[in-house]
Subunit: 324 residues, 2 copies
C-alpha cells in the first residue's frame, strides 16, 4: 500500500534524474476556461510522459540482484518507454510486450531506449500468457503499469511538485484534473496532495465510453468498459480501475469527468498555440475537461496535468488542421 | 551600456513574473548532434518568447510617471507581444507598429494582450516616420527591440539561468548557440555568461543570406543584408547588427553560424518529436546549427536557445509533413 512516506522516498530516489516539469499558463486559456488555469507539463518529462517517474521509482526500489536480472513490462507505449529508459539508465535489460497496433513512435522509441520489444495481436493473443512465459524463461521481474506501490509512489511525485509550484503561484485551493487509465497517476497525486496541499482535490478525466473510473466512483463497484477500441486516447484505455489505485481514488477523488476525442484534439491544438507544448490525445483529456467542461468544475483555479506527449505526427497534424 | 550588475538587477525585477524555462534534452538529439545537447526552451516563456524578459525589464525600469504615459514599439511580432504583455501587466497603454505581412498569430496575440496595433506596408511606408509621429502626438516612450540597455539586461537573464541550470547538469564548458536578429538576446547572454560561467561561449545563429552578424564578426565592420525578405525565419530578419549589441558580441562571441530554412524546419520537427515543444522557424536556428552543423562546433557539450514558439499553424504543419 502506497503511503506519503513512500512518495517522499521516491522523490529522493528520483532527485537528479527526473525533470521538474514546469507549471504553465496562458491568459488566453484562462479566458476559455473561465477561471485561472495551470497546466503541469509532464509531456516534457524524460521519455515524454510521467511514466518515467514510476519506472525509475520501481527499478531503483528493487534489490540490485533482482534488478540485474532484468525487467519486463506490458504497455501500449508510455509505460514501455518509461521502463525501458529507466532500465537503460540502470544498465539492466528490459523486455516490453506491446500491442502491434500501438503508435509507431512509441514502439520505435521503446526499441531505441534499448528494450527488446515483443509485439502481440490484441485480438487473438493472450498478453498475460506471453508475458508469464517470457518472464519465467528469462528470470525477469514484472513492473506493473499501475497496480504496484512503487510505481504509484513515483507518479505521486508529480503531486508533490504541483503542491510546491501552486504554492509559488499563491494557489491554496484547486481541483487537480488528471488523465486516468489504470489510475496510477491520479491515485499517486491524490495521496501526495492529501498530505501536502489539503485544499486540493483530484478529479479523474477519461475518454467518453472509457470512463470506467468515473462510473466506478459513482457506483462504488468496479465497472468495466464495454469496448477496448474506438478512442484515439490510446494511453489511457484500460478495462477497469486498478485494485490498488481505485480504493485510493474512492477515498480522495471527486467526481470523474469524461471528454470526447474531439475535445481532446481541440485541447491539443490550443496547447500548441497557447503553451507551445505537444500533448498526445490521452494526455490532453484533463486539459480538455478544464477548457470545455467548466460547468462541472467548482474551484476558482484549476490545475490540469498534461501527462504525455508521444503522439504520431499524422494525429497531431490532423488536430492542428481541424482545430488550429 | 549594459553591465552584469544591470542584468542581475533585471533578474530581481523579473522575479515572480518571468518563467524560469526548463533546460531540456533527449538522447535521440544527442545522437544527431554527436555530443551532449541541451535546449533552453524560451518558447515556453510568457508571450511565447524571450522578448517578454526585455519588455518587462524595460517597462519596470522606467520612472512610473513616464511609464504611465504609455509605450510604443516596432516589431514583426515577438517584441510586440513581449512589450504588449508587459504593458498590460503594468496597467499602462501600448501601441505597437507591425508590418502588415507579420504572422497572423503574432498580430492577433499582440492585440489580445491589449495593445493598439498599427499596421504598415514594409515596401511603401516609413515605419520610423509613422512611429515618431504617433509617439510625439501621444507622449509615448519608445521601447527599442535590442539597442536599449534595459532590454539587453532583461534578455541577459536567460544567460544567468543557463549558467545555473548547466551547473546542475555538471556542465562547465559549452558553446551556447543563440538565434540572432539584432543581437539583444545573444549579447545579453554573452555578458551574463562572461560573469557567471566563463567556460561558456556564445555563438550567434542566423538564417542563410541574413547572416549580417556572422559576416560583421568576420570583417569587423557593420555588414548589411542585401535583402529583407526570402526567409521563413521572420523573427530574426534585421538589416544589420545593433549599435549597442555588436561591440559586445565582437568582444565575447565566437564565429557565427548560418543555417538554411530547411534546416530550421527539420529542427522544429525534431523538437516536436523529441522534446515535445513548439518552436518557430527563427527560434529554431540555434537548434538547427547544433544538430546539422556539428562540424563547426568545438565543445563536447552544446546548449541551444529555442528563443520563441509563435508559429502559424500552417507553417508548423508543413514542417511536420515534410520532416516529421
Amino acid at each position: 500500500m502506497t503511503s506519503i512516506e513512500m512518495i517522499v522516498a521516491a522523490r529522493a530516489r528520483l532527485q537528479g534524474t527526473v525533470r521538474r516539469t514546469p507549471l504553465l499558463s496562458s491568459p488566453f486559456l484562462d479566458e476559455v476556461a473561465g477561471r485561472r488555469l495551470f497546466v503541469k507539463a509532464e509531456c516534457l518529462q524524460h521519455s515524454g510522459s510521467f511514466k518515467f517517474r514510476g519506472g525509475w521509482s520501481a527499478l531503483s526500489g528493487l534489490d540490485q540482484s533482482v534488478r540485474n536480472g532484468g525487467v519486463i513490462a506490458f504497455s501500449s507505449g508510455n509505460h514501455a518507454q518509461g521502463v525501458a529508459l529507466a532500465a537503460r539508465l540502470h544498465g539492466v535489460p528490459s523486455l516490453i510486450i506491446m500491442p502491434s497496433d500501438a503508435p509507431r513512435l512509441k514502439i520505435d522509441n521503446t526499441r531505441a531506449f534499448g528494450a527488446e520489444v515483443v509485439l502481440y495481436d490484441r485480438m487473438n493473443e493472450d498478453r498475460d500468457a506471453i508475458g508469464a512465459r517470457l518472464a519465467e524463461e528469462r528470470g525477469l521481474t514484472l513492473i506493473r503499469p499501475f497496480d504496484e506501490p512503487l510505481v504509484i509512489a513515483g507518479q505521486g511525485t508529480v503531486g508533490l511538485e504541483i503542491a510546491e509550484q501552486a504554492d509559488e503561484e499563491g494557489v491554496t485551493d484547486s481541483e487537480v484534473l488528471v488523465p486516468c487509465g489504470g489510475g496510477g497517476l491520479s491515485s499517486g497525486i491524490a495521496l501526495a496532495l492529501e498530505a501536502s496541499a489539503p485544499g486540493f482535490r483530484v478529479r479523474t478525466c477519461e475518454p467518453e465510453n472509457f470512463d470506467d473510473t468515473a462510473r466506478s466512483l459513482v457506483s462504488g463497484n468496479y465497472e468495466r468498459n464495454s469496448v477496448m477500441t474506438g478512442s484515439i486516447c490510446d494511453a489511457i484505455l484500460t478495462p477497469e480501475p486498478g485494485k490498488l489505485t481505485f480504493p485510493i481514488l474512492q477515498r480522495l477523488a471527486g467526481k470523474g469527468i469524461a471528454v470526447t476525442d474531439e475535445e481532446a484534439l481541440r485541447a491539443m491544438a490550443l496547447a500548441f498555440k497557447r503553451l507551445r507544448i505537444v500533448i498526445e490525445p490521452g494526455g490532453a483529456v484533463a486539459l480538455a475537461a478544464a477548457l470545455f467542461h467548466s460547468d462541472v468544475l467548482e474551484s476558482d483555479t484549476v490545475i490540469a496535468v498534461a501527462s504525455g506527449g508521444n503522439v504520431d505526427t499524422e494525429i497531431f497534424a490532423a488536430a492542428l488542421s481541424r482545430f488550429g
